[in-house]
């Protein structure tokens, strides 16, 4: 069967868009084929910086004829209905319709519409212009003289030529003719911009890929990646080095070249004084080059050789290219070194920082302290309604000190760390590379001799940044990380800026999840409602505090509702977190009580309850509970009398006596186990109820004839419910 070849050649497509665009093209074209009744055998897409290509195999030359029947109105239907039928079926007169009979319906019209099959060429010629016009580029543009007119063709960058050929292996393929914008589809394309600028014609995919390869274009991106990876490793290996792996960069670089030629450049070893992260980021972000390190890892140290990927086979073997790139890398590293050294020196205008330093308790002899004083003195806004960064840091520091004892951290260290945590925002290095925030703070904190826990906290207080990010374990870091996130949440709740639907511009869900992971993974007991309330009152609500140095423009209403609301936001996030970790999130509601605000406790209850409900005893007890609850609900509805308490004297059957005794014992055990938060014991105590409950339902008739006996037995059922309620509200267990 014939094959279809499509190439859309344009000016340079942004690397990050190529892969998806090629996939979109495949999907849109194959969908159009299938829709038109042209199933295909296989399709594969390709991309380079200058082209999207599509190779579709085994497309039928023609779609099958289709006969459609359309039922019409009865032959004696009003003229209007018949006219409508003719219009809908595309018939010009009623003579073209057939008449059929049906015992129920009588005589009625049927339009038999024959749709002759179409050639694949016609289908493609019709589909492609629409696909090109509606292509889902993230951002597209108009160009050239045609852009005078509204509605002119858009593409990611100017589209230069279109190849579209179709034909079986054994024959010369034909050009599928269509026009879009100023472009006419044909069979001509061009190779590498510099090595093979002449136009050439292509027939089918093999011929196309072959000629492109001769014209210095490696069509397959995976192949380009492998070439780069292989050559880079060889270049590094020859010098006793290894390439620091960077898949994201490899993907990007493979989208910047059609003919990858890998080269090695160098810079002065003096620049290795910089933190390796800075060297890598400078070289990666600005120059899109790979860094190398001594073979075997180098203990975090890099080498002064880097790998660059060029797009040409240079006449001089790449000497000029390597030299030029080295020059740019050196200039960038020299900037970075300047930032690194400047950040370790004094700021020029120290006297202007004294007020801030005094109010924050900073030591202006230390560079990072100066940067924090500057952050405060600049009055940089954090959020218009919440206040400045300086105010925020004060709040975080106060909260970190307050939380410190709860997490087992030294309050003084926590306060100090919180005070320095945001200081690197005003360093030159973070100004240039915002993604290094935290990390640079840690380096600078280390250089001025801060306590190791303070250093760790300065770096890690942003963590965890997502579900897969590491959770800090240093206690001081935990305190500051919690304080940072809680402050953000309380502050945004106070001004009623909460996430809605897919909108969460301040990443508040992430902050809440961060808090949850910090608490659970470090096994922390925190009374959240207290913390939220206190933080709000002491640090955010200046009205409540009277004259305060912390001026925050939050409303002056009592914020109780917002606190409860924030707590329930936490609980919702906890459910999400439990669901994602494979736990039973439906059990959260079951274990919650009016006063639950301890996430760790809630989680432990959920875990124990989940394990119990998975056991044989648990399943049966749940069934017994439900039976009891259903009976009680039905009787309560009927208004049947239920005794206030179980009267032991009215118990006659051995099974009901046994159950009453079992409940008494279980309750004692439950109280003891719950008192010591030993949830495994609590579940074991509950488990002991299973046999007596089963036996009770097996042998004892609740609906006894004697009203007193019945009321007493119902009271016994109430006690089953009460006993289980000590652990969880079983009525909220799903399933």
């Amino acid at each position: 069967m014939p094959d279809l070849l499509i190439e859309l050649r344009s000016e340079e497509i942004p690397a990050r868009m190529q892969r998806k665009a090629a996939g979109d093209l495949r999907k849109m074209v194959t969908d159009a084929l299938v829709e038109a009744g042209l199933p295909y055998e296989g399709a594969r897409e390709y991309w380079t910086p200058r082209r999207l290509a599509l190779d579709i195999r085994g497309v039928p030359a023609r779609s099958k004829d289709v006969v459609e029947e359309r039922k019409g109105p009865r032959t004696d239907a009003p003229q209007k209905a018949i006219e409508g039928f003719l219009r809908g079926a595309g018939l010009s007169s009623i003579e073209e319709a057939e008449t059929r009979s049906d015992p129920k319906k009588g005589d009625f019209y049927v339009a038999v519409v024959k749709k002759p099959g179409r050639t694949a060429e016609a289908v493609v010629a019709e589909a492609l212009p629409a696909i090109i016009r509606d292509f889902p580029w993230p951002k597209s543009m108009r160009w050239g003289a045609a852009s005078r007119q509204p509605g002119s063709l858009r593409w990611v960058r100017p589209l230069q030529s279109i190849v579209c050929t179709f034909g079986p292996e054994t024959e010369e393929p034909v050009v599928v003719e269509f026009v879009v914008g100023d472009l006419k589809a044909g069979n001509a394309t061009k190779g590498h911009r510099f090595h093979a600028p002449q136009e050439f014609t292509v027939r089918r995919f093999e011929d196309y890929a072959d000629k492109l390869a001769k014209a210095h274009v490696v069509l397959d991106a995976e192949r380009r990646k492998e070439m780069i990876r292989h050559d880079a490793e060889n270049l590094a290996f020859a010098r006793g080095l290894e390439v620091v792996p960077d898949e994201g960069l490899l993907e990007e670089v493979s989208g910047l070249v059609e003919w990858p030629v890998t080269l090695m450049g160098t810079f002065e070893e003096a620049y290795l004084e910089l933190p390796p992260e800075v060297v890598q980021l400078t070289i990666r972000a600005n120059q899109k080059c790979f860094v190398t390190r001594p073979h075997g890892g180098g203990n975090g140290r890099l080498s002064n050789h880097f790998i660059l990927v060029s797009n040409i086979e240079a006449k001089d073997g790449g000497a000029e290219i390597a030299r030029g790139n080295g020059k740019v890398v050196r200039a960038r590293l020299s900037d970075a070194l300047y930032f690194w050294q400047t950040d370790q020196g004094d700021l020029p205008d120290l006297p202007a920082l004294e007020a801030s330093a005094a109010s924050l308790g900073l030591d202006l002899k230390k560079p990072l302290d100066q940067r924090m004083a500057k952050l405060d003195a600049l009055g940089v806004t954090f959020h218009a309604k919440i206040g400045t960064q300086g105010e925020r840091v004060r709040r975080i520091a106060a909260l970190a000190e307050q939380i410190a004892p709860v997490v087992g951290a030294d309050p003084a260290l926590a306060g100090r760390a919180a005070l320095l945590a945001k200081a690197d925002l005003t360093t030159e290095m973070v100004g240039e590379f915002p993604e290094l925030q935290g990390l640079m703070g840690r380096y600078y904190a280390g250089l001025q001799g801060e306590h190791p826990s303070v250093q760790a906290a300065v770096e890690e207080h942003y963590k965890p940044l997502g579900p897969s990010d590491r959770v800090p374990t240093d206690k001081v870091a935990v305190a500051v990380a919690l304080a940072d996130k809680l402050d953000t949440l309380v502050a945004f709740w106070a001004i009623d800026e909460k996430p809605t639907g897919s909108k969460d511009p301040y990443a508040l869900r992430r902050a809440a999840l961060g808090v949850i992971r910090l608490v659970l993974e470090n096994g922390l007991r925190v009374d959240f409602l207290d913390v939220i309330r206190n933080h709000h009152a002491l640090n955010l609500d200046d009205k409540a505090k009277g004259a305060s140095q912390v001026e925050v423009s939050v409303g002056d209403v009592r914020h109780f509702q917002s606190h409860v609301d924030l707590l329930s936001f936490f609980l919702d996030r906890l459910k999400v977190q439990l669901r994602e970790s494979g736990a039973r999130h439906d059990l959260v509601d079951a274990v919650l009580t009016d006063t639950s605000d301890d996430l760790l406790d809630i989680t432990r209850r959920v875990e124990a309850l989940g394990a119990f409900l998975d056991s044989e005893d648990g399943k049966n007890l749940l069934a017994g509970y439900r039976r009891a609850a259903n009976i009680l609900a039905a009787e309560e509805k009927k208004g049947t009398t239920i005794a206030e308490a179980v009267d032991l004297g009215l118990l006659s059957e051995p099974e009901e006596k046994a159950l009453a005794g079992a409940i008494d014992r279980a309750e004692v055990e439950l109280d003891e186990a719950l008192g010591t938060e030993n949830y495994a014991h609590a579940m074991a105590a509950l488990a002991k109820l299973r046999a007596p409950v089963d036996a009770f339902f097996d042998k004892v008739l609740v609906n006894a004839e004697d009203e007193g006996v019945r009321a007493n037995r119902l009271a016994l059922l109430t006690r089953i419910r009460e006993a289980t309620l000590k652990v969880a509200d079983f009525s909220r267990v799903a399933g």
Binding site: W143, A314, K315
Partner: protein, 316 residues
């Protein structure tokens, strides 16, 4: 091209580089303009680009534009950063379909061989919030160094470009440092002579860099600057109002002088920014104020002859 004196070789002299580019684009058919006589942050601000990018008329121009970025001042101590530097600007409306080839031809003209040097078009979406302008294009890299910006204007002064113009901006000092192979901008050979006759970039501009850095960061009177900003903003609006068409269909009579005031406001804003007296929140509002001036000027320009309006058509 007729033979040039050896000192005019773009690889030997800064001015040779400029003249070669001018010659190349003159040969293509551009009008070669001289720099606009006002302080601007980039060649794009020249009315030959900002305003002429609007409207339906054909327009091909090239010019050098001294550009001022007060914040980039380094007191002459940084080998790569200047608060005053030259851009070479080319604007072709509508963009010809071979604009990339034309650009590469200009690099060849200054001696950059694309089979020795690695020339690349790397994604760069250009946006000027103050001009209400955006376009798609690339940074053009030569051996990893960004030497030009290449943009297809989609919108200018908040107005859709119809047709689209192609804009090329060459960073002349960078390009010259590259072709002359020097590491410090102040070491560039300006006139291509050697020995006593040689004039370096530093001899021409180092003192200015030092003095303007002091002015930009320390001496500029911020109260005066604030006043200048307000006055320019007021004057721009007043001129646009004064020249507005007096009857429906008539032409606007005073756009270019109004646009000068917009340029002025923009530069004053950059100076205030360098002096560090604009807070983060204020910054946004200043940008918006300049943008609304640019927008008003762009709209008025469409009511002029150069903007493609014709009073006869309107009357008919």
């Amino acid at each position: 091209m007729p033979d040039l004196l050896p000192q005019m070789d773009p690889k030997r002299s800064f001015q040779g580089l400029i003249l070669t580019l001018q010659r190349y684009w003159a040969d293509y058919g551009c009008v070669i303009l001289q720099p606009y006589d006002m302080e601007v942050g980039a060649g794009t601000f020249h009315p030959a680009t900002t305003l002429r990018a609007l409207g339906p008329k054909r327009w091909n121009a090239a010019y050098v534009q001294p550009s001022r970025r007060p914040k980039d001042g380094r007191y002459g101590e940084n080998p790569n950063r200047l608060q005053h530097y030259y851009q070479f600007q080319v604007i072709l409306k509508p963009n010809p379909s071979n604009l990339q080839e034309l650009y590469l031809g200009s690099l060849a003209a200054i001696g950059v061989d694309p089979l020795v040097h690695d020339i690349r078009f790397v994604e760069d979406d250009w946006e000027s919030p103050t001009l209400g302008a955006w376009g798609l294009g690339w940074e053009c890299w030569c051996d990893g160094m960004e030497v030009s910006q290449f943009t297809y204007f989609q919108q200018v002064c908040g107005i859709e470009c119809a047709p689209v113009a192609g804009e090329l901006t060459y960073g002349l000092e960078r390009l010259a440092m590259y072709v002359q192979n020097v590491d410090n901008v102040y070491d560039l050979n300006f006139n291509g002579r050697e020995g006593d006759e040689k004039v370096t970039y530093g001899e021409v501009f180092l003192q200015a860099e030092q003095e303007y850095s002091r002015f930009n960061f320390e001496f500029a009177d911020t109260a005066i600057l604030h006043r200048h900003f307000d006055e320019a903003e007021k004057e721009c609006a007043a001129l646009l109002a004064a020249g507005a068409p007096d009857e429906p269909g008539a032409l606007h009579r005073c756009v270019l002088p109004a646009y000068d005031q917009c340029i002025k406001a923009s530069h004053v804003f950059n100076l205030l920014d360098a002096r560090g007296v604009i807070s983060v929140t204020e910054r946004q509002s200043y940008i918006l104020r300049v943008r609304s001036l640019a927008k008003a000027c762009g709209e008025a320009f469409l009511l002029t002859d150069a903007g493609g309006a014709s009073p006869q058509d309107a009357a008919a």
